[in-house]
């Protein structure tokens, strides 16, 4: 594809802190290369703002290679922008053309309060993990990988679920602000493997309980989460989580 340059209008959410109401600020950026990533375009914007003596836009990022899940941006109505199974850092400016206007908002959900501008607090996800997203039984020393026989299909499904990077795009994209895809991925990758099996019931119960406590909405199977997940986590995992949860409820296995 041809390499080109473009001038863009950005409408970016600015919010001092969680108590501030927030508003859109309009910026012009010039001479943006089609080879840049979306975050590099934001770097250019921030350098420009600093040179002008203005305050830069706060945004989250870390790895810039699609694996850490930090780069939360809602771009023209889409979590991580319009590309399929792509994080913001992997979205490239060749998506846009000269003269485009791009609206950038933070993840919006009460369970993800805004810290500043585009940065949101996702510790609600950490607390869900703390409620049960781990294995605490003694599994001994690391054994030879082949010593534990696991069906190929189960291993593949567990691996696919474990790809979740905890970015929060699912809850950000969900019209109900539900975190079911995230929780289901975390419950699934453990429930499918022998190490996770002993605690599977308590895990499902406690993680769902914590998810509700954090103020996420209830899943009505709309499917926007799956469409926006950068790691292609399937909503089949949500069916599995529901099964795990109902199974735990009926067998009387409860929390704590």
């Amino acid at each position: 594809m041809e390499h080109y340059h473009m001038n863009l209008t950005l409408k970016v959410w600015k919010q001092k802190n969680n108590n501030d109401k927030g508003r859109f600020e309009t910026y012009q950026v010039k001479n943006i290369s089609s080879e840049m990533s979306f975050l590099e375009m934001f770097d250019v914007l921030n350098e420009q703002l600093i040179a002008e003596g203005k305050e830069p836009v706060a945004f989250d990022h870390d790895c810039r290679e699609g694996i850490c899940g930090m780069c939360s941006m809602h771009i023209n109505g889409r979590a991580h922008g319009p590309w399929h199974e792509t994080t913001t850092c992997q979205l490239h400016m060749r998506q846009y053309k000269d003269g485009d206007t791009i609206v950038v908002e933070p993840w919006r959900a009460n369970a993800f309060p805004v810290i500043k501008d585009l940065v949101v607090d996702r510790t609600s996800f950490d607390r869900i993990i703390q409620a049960g997203g781990y294995v605490s039984v003694n599994t001994g020393n690391a054994v030879d990988a082949n010593a534990l026989p696991i069906e190929k299909q189960k291993a593949d499904e567990a691996f696919a679920a474990a790809a979740c990077i905890g970015c929060g795009a699912c809850a950000a994209a969900c019209p109900n602000a539900s975190a079911m895809l995230f929780v289901s991925a975390k419950v699934s990758h453990l429930a499918l493997l022998p190490q996770g099996d002993p605690e599977r019931k308590i895990r499902a119960t406690n993680m769902v309980l914590q998810m509700d406590k954090e103020g996420f909405g209830s899943c009505t199977n709309i499917g926007a989460c799956e469409a926006e997940c950068p790691k292609g986590i399937s909503i089949e995992n949500i069916a599995r989580l529901n099964r795990e949860y109902l199974g735990a409820a009926f067998s009387g296995s409860s929390n704590e």
Binding site: A173, P175, G217, S218, N221, N242, R243
Partner: protein
């Protein structure tokens, strides 16, 4: 939500089967026979109480879910994804359900309530076939019914699959089967219902 929904789906099967008896075009003989059984049988009347309770429960759960979920995002997106990431009917179950509720009020006021009222006051069952025939001579009644059926169809396209997903049954192996049956159900049942007012209005049966 899912359990009450599945119960209502089962009700639709029975309701649709009984009403479809009008298509024998035998002056409503077979239909009246079935309706008489449904209207007087002790077991059926007991199940009917359960049906009313389940319907109310479904509505309360639905409205509750709708309101609760709306409260989870106090600051809304300025630009939202709309149909790019999900189909409109999957996001509109509350609206579709509320339309169904309006339809159900009209529908029960036309047949079920007068019939039961007549039974309770000791005047026996109403001639339901002739009641239907008379009602469906009015164009606006036919249009209200067709809108009701279209609404039902969209509610079920999502609801059928959704209830199995919620119960954890829409697994890798069964999801296409469930979705397929769901879509077929969501088209066929409302279509058969919609044909009833049309058949009377256009005198395909009499």
């Amino acid at each position: 939500m899912s359990l009450t929904g599945i119960f209502l789906i089962l009700f639709l099967v029975v309701h649709c089967y009984i009403n479809a008896q009008i298509f024998w075009n035998d002056g409503g003989h077979k239909f009246e026979e079935a309706a008489h059984f449904m209207g007087t049988n002790f077991i059926i009347r007991t199940v009917e109480i359960g049906l009313t309770a389940f319907l109310l429960l479904h509505i309360i759960q639905g409205l509750n879910l709708w309101l609760s979920n709306r409260s989870k995002r106090s600051v809304r997106y300025t630009v939202s994804a709309g149909n790019q990431t999900s189909a409109w009917y999957r996001r509109s179950m509350g609206v579709l359900g509320s339309l169904l509720l309006i339809f159900l009020v009209i529908h029960t006021a036309k047949f079920w309530i007068p019939n039961r009222a007549s039974q309770i006051s000791g005047n026996g069952e109403l001639p339901l076939y002739h009641l239907m025939k008379d009602e469906f001579q009015y164009g606006w009644v036919v249009i209200v019914y067709i809108i009701g059926c279209i609404t039902l169809s969209w509610h079920l396209v999502h609801g059928f699959w959704s209830s199995f997903q919620t119960l954890g049954l829409a697994t890798h192996r069964y999801k296409y089967l469930i979705n397929g049956i769901g879509i077929a159900f969501a088209i066929i049942v409302p279509l058969v219902f919609a044909l009833m007012p049309l058949a009377f209005y256009f005198h395909w049966i009499d």
